[in-house]
């Protein structure tokens, strides 16, 4: 545990000392300002926006996951580009411990951000249990995203390109909100679809447990698979 925490703390040092990463830490603040003050102001002024409140919240939830997805992706790509990753291959730290140490804090931090977001958003009443389930589910975007990017990108430049592509991919299931109900689960091939639908149902007071369960299962399998790919490539 000590080893895991040590590495997690080092990540904070690296992020705070790198101006190009540090700046991304303000993203959630901007997002919270939008959700707490700007959106309510706009909704009060333009009533036609009301039906889209759930969708806006879905967007905010996924954007919350993007901050650490980007930062952690860049930290690990940098580690690979500077060959530091190789050093982790020859120390008494298992690959699973390594992944846990690098992903645990980003995951928990993102979960915390979403818990706060569901709590402070002024549009829907969301209970603490629901809040926690939705936040834990949405947070899983971060490790899957980071490990997948690092399993395929060889350097920072490639990493930036994949980040752009992944940013688009995570948002694709938003289209499901604009197609007939019969077709919306076609977007279930994208894991974030199950996050979006869970949040949507929860905000509308509809059952969301089965949607979240599929989401947890989907992300669980993806996490197992991308971890294997990541381990095969990162330390060589």
């Amino acid at each position: 545990m000590k080893k895991i925490l040590r590495l997690a703390l080092i990540d904070f040092k690296i992020i705070f000392r790198d101006p190009s990463l540090r700046v991304f830490l303000v993203l959630p603040v901007i997002l919270f300002v939008l959700i707490v003050w700007l959106v309510p102001y706009l909704v009060a002024k333009y009533e036609f926006l009301v039906p889209y409140l759930s969708l806006m919240l879905v967007g905010a939830v996924i954007e919350n996951t993007q901050m650490y997805s980007f930062i952690s992706s860049m930290v690990l790509i940098d580690e690979k580009e500077t060959n530091v990753a190789k050093t982790y291959g020859v120390v008494p730290l298992t690959k699973r411990q390594y992944i846990l140490s690098r992903m645990l804090i980003p995951y928990l931090f993102t979960v915390a951000l979403n818990v706060i977001l569901f709590w402070v958003q002024p549009f829907f009443t969301i209970g603490w249990g629901t809040n926690l389930i939705l936040s834990l589910l949405a947070g899983l975007v971060v490790p899957v995203y980071v490990l997948a990017i690092n399993a395929i990108a060889e350097n920072r430049m490639q990493g930036m390109v994949y980040v752009k592509a992944f940013n688009l991919l995570v948002l694709v299931p938003i289209v499901a909100f604009f197609v007939p109900d019969n077709f919306k689960h076609l977007f279930g091939i994208f894991p974030t679809h199950w996050v979006f639908q869970s949040v949507n149902n929860a905000t509308l007071g509809l059952p969301f447990g089965w949607l979240a369960a599929i989401g947890f299962l989907f992300f669980g399998v993806l996490l197992w698979w991308v971890s294997k790919l990541f381990i095969r490539k990162h330390f060589v």
């Binding site: 590495l7 080092i10 690296i14 530091v84 050093t87 291959g89 120390v91 008494p92 730290l93």
Partner: protein, 283 residues
């Protein structure tokens, strides 16, 4: 300490194996050198030995135990000095050292200040590594590899990027580690380094070992045990080293004019390498 039999390794996607049946042994307390041009398989061999590359064929025994049978405790037993500097640039030298020391069950065996002083980096201890020169980063590589007092050291081009003074110091530290009983596996294409520090060397070309012996024996075997004497009047002659002091021809020759030059005709390690492999070390 290290026994390798019929080691073969092929990278996925490659048509042919990179290592083609290597056989060698390294004794405890020995400095063993792998000499070969770039792409010969030196680093691949080391990567197999420090368990970065799996899927090899043949057998590798470390300290009497099959390599595949070693768990994570193996990494506490070995230290690896990589060919290229690899550190967190945004962290200081001390922070880099502390981080990697924290992964070992017994931590660091020597004070970090002493390790930095050992390689003349004491002034840079609390500076971020991004401010280090390449040579400084290489010295940091070296002390990171030895900070947990490993029994076996894998050093890939340990003097690469170092100025002659620091290269000499690192070589001396390697010899000190040997004297302390450490087993050291060095890969290099710098024959001077190999000649100075290795008890035995193997020549590797295209994934095959061509020969293994001590540098001294190889140089004697492939060179002449003789000297060449050149006089200032331009005359030059060769004499065998055997009983040179009693060789009247030699004694008469050097009295005929002032001696300009005397050189041994022992081959250099590079010349031996070229003779055996038909290839040059520098590529």
């Amino acid at each position: 300490m290290i026994q390798v039999e019929n080691l073969e390794f092929q990278y996925p996607g490659n048509d042919s194996p990179t290592l083609k049946g290597l056989n060698f042994e390294i004794d405890k307390g020995e400095v063993f050198g792998f000499l070969g041009p770039s792409g010969a398989g030196k680093s691949t061999t080391q990567k197999v030995l420090y368990k970065i590359l799996n899927g090899y064929r043949g057998s590798v025994w470390i300290d009497g135990k099959d390599l595949s049978g070693w768990d994570n405790t193996y990494f506490g037993k070995i230290g690896v000095g990589f060919e290229l500097p690899n550190h967190y640039l945004k962290l200081t030298g001390r922070e880099n050292m502390d981080l990697f020391a924290s992964f070992y069950p017994d931590g660091r065996k020597q004070k970090v200040e002493e390790l930095f002083e050992m390689v003349d980096l004491q002034e840079a201890l609390n500076k971020r590594v991004e401010a280090y020169s390449k040579g400084m980063k290489m010295r940091l590589n070296f002390i990171r590899a030895i900070q947990h007092n490993p029994d076996i050291l894998f050093l890939d081009e340990p003097t690469a990027g170092l100025d002659p003074v620091n290269a000499h110091k690192i070589k001396q530290h390697i010899l000190d580690l040997k004297a302390a009983g450490k087993t050291i596996f060095v890969t290099t294409h710098n024959m001077n380094t190999a000649d100075e520090i290795c008890d035995r060397v193997s020549f590797i070309v295209d994934g095959e070992l061509k020969t293994t012996d001590s540098p001294q024996k190889l140089k004697s075997q492939y060179g002449k045990e003789a000297i060449r004497v050149e006089l200032k009047d331009g005359r030059m002659e060769e004499f065998p080293l055997d009983k040179l002091g009693e060789n009247t021809a030699f004694l008469t020759f050097i009295k005929q004019a002032e001696v300009k030059h005397i050189q041994t005709l022992e081959a250099s390690l590079e010349e031996v390498f070229i003779q055996i492999t038909g290839k040059s070390l520098v590529s």
